[in-house]
């Protein structure tokens, strides 16, 4: 059933203000939060899980966020809290299903094809990046996705994953080393 809702595209209320409105039962404010953060949540989930259930996983993240809003401590950043939920959903998903080795083949089928050489190179490198991330451990993949791809600060990553900043740095070092080694083995010169 479609719901007619007017959401001001120029709504520049802060996340904190939107959360306050949500706690009063204002679902339109929650829609605003969704639109603001859904792309990043989607991107993180895509790097950590398979694409087949991406929509379901995104929905799961935001449903958990809606239900957990009363417990959200207003002192923390909403985005940090939301990414924590995202990571939890990814962890749960990994435990629920087997690793999909055909994820890369699905990706190549859904990706639009280019016939010019630069395009093919780009596709090839995209494929390599995807394969490289897939061969990393979940912890290393998480760190590399959050830090290098999504550019989340290390301190925030530490809060999301509930680990010390030192551990973030250590994992990042090893994740980059593993990724670099893989790309070099595939003939990529950085």
């Amino acid at each position: 059933m479609a719901i007619a809702v007017s959401v001001n595209p120029l709504d520049n209320r802060s996340d904190r203000e939107l959360v306050q409105c949500c706690l009063q039962g204002d679902t339109a404010s929650f829609r605003q939060l969704y639109r603001r953060h859904q792309q990043r949540v989607r991107s993180i989930l895509y790097q950590l899980c398979d694409a087949a259930s991406l929509d379901d996983l995104v929905q799961e993240v935001f449903l958990r966020a809606w239900k957990g809003l009363p417990k959200f401590k207003q002192t923390a950043q909403f985005s940090t809290w939301l990414y924590r939920i995202t990571w939890n959903v990814a962890c749960d998903h990994r435990q629920a299903v087997a690793q999909n080795r055909n994820r890369l083949s699905v990706l190549s089928r859904t990706t639009s094809s280019h016939y010019d050489m630069p395009g093919l190179s780009h596709l090839h490198y995209q494929d390599l990046v995807q394969k490289g991330l897939a061969q990393l451990s979940f912890d290393h993949r998480t760190i590399l996705t959050l830090h290098d791809l999504e550019e989340v600060p290390q301190k925030e990553i530490a809060e999301i994953l509930n680990i010390p900043v030192g551990t973030v740095k250590s994992r990042l070092f090893h994740a980059r080393a593993a990724m670099r080694q893989f790309l070099q083995q595939q003939g990529v010169q950085l």
Partner: protein, 144 residues
């Protein structure tokens, strides 16, 4: 952000440049989500009153059981009216039969003994007179 070593900077750049595109969401995903949110909000509102009603029921049951048990115990404590009546009748009958079968002297002696055995003391005077004293009871007797 801290300056990255050249190798790490190059790697990061490569990853960002060639990261696979994220598949687009289905067009009705947002509406599906908002519908689920609306349903969740409605469910929470209907559940607000249930817990308040629910706890009353077991409390009422517990209170009823307590009252019933208390009444039962109370009744049991004060129940043996019949037993008391029977005992009183028995005592009276046995007393009367004892008195009717004994002489006046024997009756006096019996009374004296019973009195001593009750621990109330030893009468120093004749029970038939009004002048009487009571001394401390002797420890040798026990009245059942």
């Amino acid at each position: 952000m801290t300056q990255l070593p050249p190798d790490d900077q190059a790697l990061k750049q490569f990853l960002q440049q060639h990261r696979p595109p994220v598949p687009a969401a289905s067009p009705d995903l947002e509406e599906q989500l908002m519908q689920a949110v609306q349903d969740s909000a409605a469910k929470v509102q209907t559940q607000v009153f249930k817990p308040r009603r629910l706890w009353i029921v077991p409390s009422a049951i517990a209170a009823s059981l307590l009252v019933a048990f208390g009444s039962y115990r109370w009744a049991k404590v004060y129940q043996p009216t019949t037993d008391v009546e029977n005992l009183a009748a028995f005592l009276e009958n046995s007393w009367n039969s004892t008195l009717s079968n004994s002489t006046e002297t024997e009756t006096y002696l019996f009374l004296e003994t019973a009195f001593q055995q009750s621990g109330a003391g030893v009468r120093t005077a004749d029970s038939f007179t009004n002048n009487s004293e009571t001394v401390a009871p002797t420890p040798t007797s026990t009245f059942y």
